[in-house]
């Protein structure tokens, strides 16, 4: 405990960095997965394969990906971009399936009604399908967010420090306290972020709050 208070500012900095190393991939992953998921949903033949491929992206070992990315993209070695890219790849892998499911969860009859009221295709996708896919998308984002916060702890392997540094450091020094504090910080960060997504969900989807209050 004393170690925790002695190193508070250090931990706070690691946590801060951990935060944006996680949030950016989650947001990017979401944005990238949306169109892919939508396409997988609409495109009957290739859709299943696309989803399978996406989920298998997730199984590429992170260590290999982390080492290969700088060579592949010409990014510099200690660039946090590498971590962002790797985590984004995993976020996309996790999110595509949910996105497809989310668009699938939108009631056909509502989409049909929107078409019949004279929505053009784009208006319909943006103003009807996207918001109605919202609840499932939110659930997906929450899972991806938690996993990403946890996964981001691999970043110190390539010199991008974050809360994961507490593991490597604690391990080297045979110092369980530091590891436990690291784990707790990761969990707390993940939960805080989760609360953030839930709040954003509440703000952007007000109609869900009142459901069932009839």
């Amino acid at each position: 405990m004393t170690w925790f208070f002695d190193n508070l500012s250090y931990i706070r900095e690691l946590a801060w960095r951990h935060l944006w190393l996680s949030v950016i991939p989650v947001v990017l992953g979401f944005v990238i997965a949306l169109p892919i998921g939508y396409a997988a949903r609409r495109w009957r033949l290739g859709g299943k394969t696309l989803l399978s491929l996406a989920s298998v992206l997730y199984t590429i070992p992170s260590l290999a990906l982390l080492i290969i990315i700088p060579g592949l993209l010409g990014t510099s070695f200690l660039d946090p971009t590498n971590v962002l890219i790797v985590l984004t790849v995993y976020a996309v892998a996790l999110m595509v399936g949910t996105a497809a499911g989310a668009f699938g969860s939108v009631s056909e009859s509502v989409v049909d009604a929107a078409r019949a009221s004279g929505y053009s295709t784009w208006q319909r996708i943006v103003q009807v399908e996207l918001p109605l896919a919202g609840p499932v998308l939110l659930a997906g984002v929450r899972v991806v967010s938690v996993s990403t916060v946890s996964l981001a702890t691999i970043a110190p392997l390539i010199g991008v420090s974050n809360l994961g540094s507490l593991f490597t450091d604690g391990f080297q020094r045979y110092f369980a306290t530091e590891i436990i504090i690291g784990i707790l910080c990761v969990v707390v960060l993940a939960l805080l972020l989760d609360v953030l997504w839930v709040l954003i969900g509440r703000l952007t989807m007000p109609w869900l709050r009142v459901r069932g209050s009839r």
Partner: protein
Amino acid sequence: GSDPTNTSAGSGSKASASSSASGSTTQPIVVGSASFGESEILAEIYAQALTAKGFDASTHLDIGQREAYIGALKDGSISLFPEYTGNLLTYFDPKATATAPADVDAALKAALPDTLTTLTPSAAEDKDSYNVTADFAKKNNLHTIADLKGVSGLSLAGNPELKTRSYGVPGLDKVYGISGISFTPISDSGGPATVKALTSGKVDVADIYSTTPSISQNHLVTLSDPKNLVAAQNVVPLIRKDHDSADVDAVLNAVSAKLTTASLLELNTKFNGPDKPKAADVAADWLKANGLA
């Protein structure tokens, strides 16, 4: 402060706060470290020593993989790194055979890429060493690596590369004639998992870096190496040539001159001690005690 990759905000801000004639004209120096205590402390020592002499030096600690930090040195993300002569040589020339300190240093200079250079190695050495528990040593009457020849069904733990490197499994066979070893690769550079494997009897011998405090803490016996199987591993500053200058050399050579194997052990012991101090503080204390800051 604005560079998000800089963990060691403390030393970084200290560096920019002070300024002197020599420092203000050179480019900023970023000292990297691997993710183990000794490397971090050495990086802090370099950085703080440079800062004390007016250089704009900061640190980027805790880079887990050699791939990553050598790459970072090459692309200029960092400019200086505390390295070990033998390991560095094997990295750039996996087939190198030199073992004596001077030979290693010479071979290293030849093997380094154009953009990088090493300064004068210090006397301080931290190298792979073969260790057994006191009980095991007594039971088998072990003093040197050569004594292992008599033990049958020998098992060994160490970093994965030990399996193929010349100072590892192949070397034990070639130099000491010890064969039939079963090898357990543990990727913690002789850290706690390796020590635990040894003390819990899972393996007979473990490769642990010689300045690791856990050797004495666990009353392990380090087997001597009469045939120089393990190459010299002197601490040496590895620096980008474009950051190298006589002024920088003067500072780092002064540090190297004071560093000894004993001081490495002492630093490590302090760092791993019950207080779990920060690497920066351990480094600062040492510099002060040695009149370097």
